[in-house]
């Protein structure tokens, strides 16, 4: 089947979805293709979930510019798209004079990058704010504009708004080729057919170099760098922190931090392991990695409550060979627009990257803004956050909001149904988890996993044996009679 589009976005992570959201504001036929059944299934799901202030990247770099701009944009987007963001501020802690000197450099760099409100605090001021921080910490750089967020939620919010405004998202759609004629893109070939288009935006994360090569541009490559995290139960927050606390940065990155999530969990990580190019998919956690993560986190917060661990995970960052984001039109292939090498601060930069790239395309195509563009997205009911009176009203409207499925996080069947049936709805167990938090608590889906599986099967009208955990072949259960699982 052949489809027609003006712009095809490859990749449904935070960058791709932010771009689609921006494209949907124009009279353009935009299609996003994502290889997995769920959006935000790559780097977007396994990162530090921080909206950085913008003092890390050197002045003049794309990273610095997009970071500071993106951070500002999220302050508006938070209300517009009802995003889960807490403007917590962040700290970069120093333990000796050498590191204190680095803080001064960061402060200067931050000012050059136009980051507002930066201050250097002494150790006591740091501990007044975060009492569990180590006595060894001599001072810290305080950045009030930094925040913490729910990263998959951001990507899904962008996607939902885009779809409401007519953009199309094709999931489980793998790009197999890009047709280039006379140095210009003409079509994207996928496992779901051909999409004829003049523009391709390459937001393929760790695979962005491969996509670029499909379109004849091999000007950069992407190098995978793995980071491992350990997540703690909500009960651990009182022993840890309320805002991100970073160590003083090194060449390898911002270092292993101790950080809270928007829902009151706490995590430590990530370490930084350069992987070989054939290990882009390596998200395995390791014993040395977890040991390193804990050891380094203890330098910031000595008493890590290891017994309150609820899970570990790893993400792979897309580090570009250019040292900066690779943004804008390819110098080789017309119509190929790069949004590549999006490592940290990619999450923060996403809306700025989207605006930067889409402004360019819209002006080239003389595309007009949609007159009937709809802001926002459907409200997402959250039972546990409501007052008793509102809970009663919700159950009166739909009794299924009275049935708690996930007991650790108090998630009701009504919320799970909403997650499945809302725009770009959940198709997998982890998809439900990322939209509702069902299965994110301390039992990690032990009780609710089977029930969520049954609800998905019922609502998607598929056999239980076809319900997946998250990835395209991650089938969960087998039929007793035939001993077979998965999709025939």
């Amino acid at each position: 089947m052949t489809k027609q589009a003006d712009v095809v976005v490859i990749g449904g992570g935070i960058t791709g979805t932010a771009i689609l959201h921006e494209l949907a504001k124009y009279n353009l036929r935009a299609i996003l293709v994502e290889r997995e059944p769920e959006l935000a299934a790559g780097t977007t799901k396994a990162n530090s979930a921080i909206l950085h202030a913008g003092f890390d990247a050197p002045e003049g770099s794309m990273k610095a510019r997009m970071n500071v701009e993106g951070n500002k944009m999220y302050h508006d987007l938070k209300d517009e798209l009802n995003l889960e963001i807490r403007w917590s501020g962040s700290l970069v802690a120093a333990v000796d004079d050498e590191q204190m000197a680095v803080l001064k450099d960061l402060l200067k760099r931050g000012k050059d990058n136009d980051v507002p409100g930066l201050e250097i605090w002494d150790g006591n001021t740091v501990r007044e704010s975060e009492p569990n921080v180590s006595k060894d910490v001599k001072g810290a750089l305080w950045a009030p504009t930094a925040g913490i967020c729910w990263p998959f939620g951001l990507a899904l919010a962008f996607a939902e708004n885009a779809v409401i405004n007519g953009a199309e998202i094709l999931r489980e759609c793998t790009v197999t080729g890009i047709t280039v004629k006379n140095h210009s893109v003409t079509a994207v070939e996928t496992n779901q057919g051909t999409i004829e288009t003049k523009y391709v935006i390459n937001a393929a994360g760790i695979h962005a170099d491969e996509i670029s090569r499909l379109a004849g541009d091999d000007s950069f490559y992407i190098h995978p760098r793995k980071g491992e995290y350990i997540l703690f139960d909500k009960t651990a927050q009182k022993d840890l922190v309320y805002c991100p606390v970073f160590p003083t940065p090194t060449k390898m990155g911002k270092g292993i931090l101790v950080c809270a999530t928007t829902h009151g969990n706490v995590f430590v990580g990530p370490n930084a392991q350069d992987m070989s190019d054939d290990e882009k998919e390596n998200t395995a956690v390791t014993i040395p990695g977890m040991d390193e993560t804990l050891e380094k986190a203890r330098r910031l917060v000595p008493n890590i409550p290891v017994g309150a661990t609820i899970t570990e995970f790893a993400g792979v960052r897309a580090v570009s060979s250019t040292g900066d984001f690779v943004l804008g039109p390819s110098a080789i292939t017309r119509g190929l627009i790069q949004a590549a090498g999006i490592q940290s601060p990619g999450l923060t930069s996403a809306p700025a990257i989207a605006k930067y790239l889409v402004d360019g395309i819209a002006s080239e195509m003389s595309a007009a803004r949609k007159a009937d563009y709809k802001k926002g997205r459907p409200a997402q009911p959250c039972f546990r956050m409501l007052t008793n009176a509102d809970q009663k009203a919700l159950i009166a409207r739909d009794a299924r909001y009275g049935r708690v499925i996930c007991r650790c996080e108090t998630i009701t069947e009504g919320e799970i149904l909403d997650a499945i049936h809302r725009p770009v709805g959940a198709r997998t167990v982890d998809g439900v988890k990322r939209r509702t938090r069902a299965g994110m608590g301390r039992c990690q889906g032990g009780f609710c996993g089977p029930r969520v599986t049954q609800i998905l099967a019922r609502e998607l009208n598929i056999p239980i044996t076809e319900v997946r955990k998250e990835m395209s072949k991650s089938y969960m259960f087998y039929d007793k009679e035939t001993q077979s699982g998965g999709k025939a």
């Binding site: 570990e312 049954q454 955990k469 991650s474 087998y478």
Partner: protein, 423 residues
Amino acid sequence: MGEQLYDVIIIGGGPAGLSAAYSAWQNGAKKILVLERDREAGGILQQCIHNGFGLHHFKEELTGPGYAQRCYDLVKDKEEIEILVDTMVLNINDDKLVTAVSPKHGLIKVQGKTIILTMGCRERTRGAIRIPGYRPAGVFTAGAAQRMVNMEGYLPGKKIVILGSGDIGLIMARRMSLEGCKVQAVLEICPFSNGLTRNMVQCLYDYDIPLHLSHTITAIHGKDRVTGITAAKVDEHMKPIPGTEFDIDCDTLLLSVGLIPENELSRGLGLDMHPLTSGPIVDQHRETSITGIFAAGNVVHVHDLVDFVSEEAEIAGKYAALKAMGKMEDNVADVAVEAAGEVRTCVPQHVRAGENGETIRLFMRVRKPMKHVRLTVKSGADTLLSKVLPVAKPSEMIAVNVPADKAKGHHADWTVSVTEEEA
């Protein structure tokens, strides 16, 4: 439903909750409410379709659902006992006002004169024990897999490795074998099994399933679905020994790595908790640190036999009923019960001794497997109980009675210890 007043509100309709309800009724409570989260009462027994339950309590061998039915039959037609299913308790405040929610009744608030916490326990997860590797589909807690196989009719996989030799893991090894699956191995990090002896024999040896003691998993393989695991021998500190790794081909990993009492509501109430049992600290009546709030069963400490759960719940039911009716004896002394020597935990953790004296039943677990041990209960220098046990192991709870005449009047703190006797 308005804000009704109950003599006893029981949180959880598993074997502990049902047994507590029956006992409260037997002891004269007139208005008893059981709140159950699942679609039916019976708790985790509903998915335990194997036999071996009830030998102590009902003097007959029953299946899990059979045992649950017995408990249910005792309470189902009692006018004084109301059971709400599909009902999740959201909050309990220290005035004993319970907020709960169900599709049928919406948000309800009910007031108890007393409350009994019988929420049971949950399984420890992969994350809690930090197993390295990928995070594919095919990693289940043994209980979640058991529910799918026994109640919903699906298999979690076909080629299985089980980590942990706790009872659920052993039972699932047999269950999966009976379903025609291949159980490749059971791995246990301890140098001894953590299951009941009868389960070792009936579930592993009878099916020729290899058990690797002092082994753990050092990697889970597979991006989408489990494709195998790497196992390794561990040293005396339970750290993997480099060079001892070997791979096992499998599509499923079941975890049976311990149970954790489900105490979110207890913590919300601010009950004093015990660090080793992970349950509320209770006296011999199973009353917690808040007067009128009782707790029993796996929420207090993890049992290996449901029979003992029922027994403990009957104690809580009785005294909650007496309390609700204002018939509890005034206590004259609060006596601590300390676990000492090789005794790791002992419930109750304290005794509120009255004038009349009563038999005190103690439940304890030891730290390591031992043969020919002497169990002693002392109050100061006085010995209240001394008996020899042929074996003692961490996986099998020990229950003893301190007779009323011995218990009476001993207000110095009690010490419960187990020591190995010379053969």
